[in-house]
């Protein structure tokens, strides 16, 4: 007996909840041969605004957690990803049209990368911070601190690995993230949102928008309450204009790296420190 197909309409992930797009719009996610896979919410600028509000609310809690704690929480996500490995492989096969070995390799690489970044949570300060030598009886210490809300345009040509390469480094230092997922390959982003919702990551720390980066990115780039912009997946967009808009409100911007963005965004400490601000403290040494 044949079953009736269960057609899915996915929603956004904002503030730890799964709301529909404020606009009520959806778009179809199609497979590599054009067949219908699912509906995804087509996020509007107001969804982006709501996501920024949620992210802003989450910054203080997430950034105040100890690096050790953030590392544990991020590692736990890798565990959950591992548990859902088969689902991610199936989705990548469906949307990217690759064989299951290639898809499995991508999922494995994404999980490994996630764990690699999780490990940095309680270590990057030691590497990026410094006790500066000064000519006086002072301790002079520089420490990196998270910059705040980071808006990310995820790589458009990679389902999971590109997404993980973009959001994991921003999370390590304690930033909250608004990520615009790959428009065509949104299934992995939606599944990752479901993983995050059942993990220990506080609501609002990661907000996932599905839809058109060309439509949403300008609003995020100009939003005054966004502190940094990662244009990793914006290579196809008019990203110079996005940079100009971001400059109006003094954001940090990471431009697209060129080439296949997932491969280009190889794991690196620089991707973590790109979204930190250096705080330098002077403190008197005791009188000798």
């Amino acid at each position: 007996m044949s079953r009736l197909a269960v057609l899915k309409t996915y929603k956004l992930y904002i503030g730890g909840k799964f709301p529909r797009s404020e606009s009520g719009r959806v778009y179809e996610i199609v497979g590599s041969s054009g067949e219908f896979l699912a509906n995804a919410a087509l996020a509007s600028r107001k969804d982006a605004r709501d996501a920024v509000v949620a992210a802003r609310g989450a910054v203080s809690g997430w950034s105040k957690a100890t690096g050790y704690n953030r590392g544990q929480v991020l590692y736990r996500i890798a565990e959950l990803l591992e548990g859902r490995r088969a689902q991610f492989v199936d989705e990548i096969v469906a949307v990217e049209g690759v064989n299951s070995a290639v898809a499995a390799a991508q999922v494995d690489a994404a999980i490994d990368r996630w764990i690699w970044y999780a490990g940095w949570a309680d270590k990057y300060v030691q590497v990026a911070g410094n006790a500066n030598a000064v000519s006086g009886p002072f301790f002079n210490i520089s420490v990196p601190e998270p910059t705040g809300v980071v808006a990310i345009i995820a790589p458009q040509d990679s389902s999971l690995l590109g997404l993980v390469s973009a959001i994991a480094p921003a999370l390590v230092s304690g930033n909250a993230v608004v990520v615009v997922a790959s428009e065509r390959f949104a299934l992995s982003a939606i599944s990752l949102a479901e993983v995050l919702a059942t993990s220990d990551v506080p609501g609002g720390v990661v907000n996932v928008l599905t839809g058109s980066p060309a439509e949403i990115a300008p609003w995020l780039a100009s939003h005054a309450d966004v502190n940094a912009l990662d244009l990793l997946g914006a290579g196809e967009l008019d990203w110079v204009d996005l940079q100009i808009a971001a400059a109006e409100t003094l954001k940090r911007v990471l431009p697209p790296e060129g080439g296949s963005s997932a491969a280009a965004a190889a794991p690196s400490l620089e991707r973590i420190t790109a979204f930190t601000e250096t705080k330098t403290v002077w403190h008197t040494k005791s009188l000798i």
């Binding site: 920024v52 802003r56 609003w219 100009s222 109006e248």
Partner: protein, 335 residues
């Protein structure tokens, strides 16, 4: 059964209820007011909240909302410095935009009135164009649990210090136990205490604390009671009790004010306070005013928002309209 003679210096009540005003006649009148259709009221309020106010209408609404705000600080930790910064914010809500209107009033505790008056200086104005009023909460705000003598002294003190408006609380305990005469007498007495040395009166806002009145019927009765006793404004809440102002309650009070206007030709003000934090909410109230009492109520003499955090959200929306991009909390002052 005690039939107390009610204080007779309430001209409105005498006009509506007749000369021999007693507790029982007052009670008979208030209990004779028809009940509220709660489902209809809530549906009406919800419907008013669905209007779409965009672009130029929104810009006008935001400016109007700012000019209707009673910028409020009512904390135990208030200091003269906090009041001065509140006044500065009221005078110049958006330092980056001189075209931003001023708020209607600053609302403080009675002992902070002198500091507010001093900080306002030449901008202190009762109804003067561009001036900001000083409103003081009095009568043992927020609970109202003090003897009448203390409440009157509290009021007279704030008026003597220069308060233009007095926000008094009613005795909810007495109201809920049906002693309307006591509540009535207190309002009349406080109204008298609002008299200044030159014979004019500070405006009296009567806080019903609708969150403690339990039913819409009680809110309607209390509104009538306050108006009969001489209130210039009826105000929903202290902001210290949840739920504070809600849209249905405000619509109900606006209906009472409208009915009173039709009955006597006299316009009474309404002030929702507490819990109105976003421009979106405030615009719903503005729609409710225009649709219920009438557009002429959209002026500081007849409508106020009691709010502290609302102003910042309105400023963010204003900046969004002006610049075309979303603004953030870094671009408004921290209160």
């Amino acid at each position: 059964m005690s039939i107390d003679k009610v204080v007779n210096s309430a001209p409105r009540a005498i006009e509506v209820l007749g000369g021999d005003l007693t507790e029982s006649s007052l009670k008979r009148y208030l209990n004779g007011i028809p009940g509220v259709d709660a489902v209809g009221l809530e549906a009406r309020a919800a419907d008013l909240g669905t209007r779409s106010i965009k672009t130029t209408s929104k810009a006008w609404a935001l400016d109007t909302i700012i000019s209707l705000i009673d910028l409020t600080t009512l904390e135990g930790a208030d200091t003269p410095g906090k009041v001065r910064s509140l006044v500065a914010k009221g005078l110049t809500p958006d330092a980056g935009d001189p075209s931003c209107p001023r708020v209607a009033a600053v609302c403080v505790y009675g002992d902070m009135v002198p500091y507010a008056v001093e900080a306002l200086g030449a901008f202190h104005g009762d109804g003067i164009e561009g001036g900001i009023n000083v409103a003081a909460v009095a009568t043992a705000f927020p609970s109202g649990r003090a003897s009448l003598a203390v409440k009157l002294a509290d009021t007279a003190d704030a008026v003597a210090a220069g308060a233009d408006e007095i926000d008094m609380v009613i005795d909810r305990g007495a109201f809920l136990s049906g002693r309307y005469g006591l509540v009535f007498d207190e309002i009349v007495a406080v109204k008298e205490a609002c008299r200044r040395a030159d014979g004019t009166f500070a405006h009296l806002k009567v806080i019903l604390e609708t969150g403690e009145l339990n039913t819409y019927d009680n809110v309607r009765r209390a509104s009538w009671l306050a108006i009969l006793a001489g209130a210039d404004f009826i105000k929903t809440s202290t902001g210290k009790v949840a739920p504070a102002a809600t849209l249905p309650v405000t619509v109900l009070m606006l209906e009472v004010v409208r009915d009173w206007y039709r009955l006597t030709g006299e316009k009474i003000g309404v002030k929702p306070a507490g819990g109105i934090r976003t421009s979106k909410d405030a615009i719903k109230y503005a729609v409710a005013i225009a649709e219920t009492a009438g557009e002429e109520w959209l002026q500081p003499q007849l409508f106020r928002f009691g709010a502290s955090s609302l102003l910042n959200d309105v400023l963010l929306q204003r900046q969004k309209l002006a610049t075309g991009h979303y603004s953030g909390a870094d671009y408004v002052t921290i209160d």
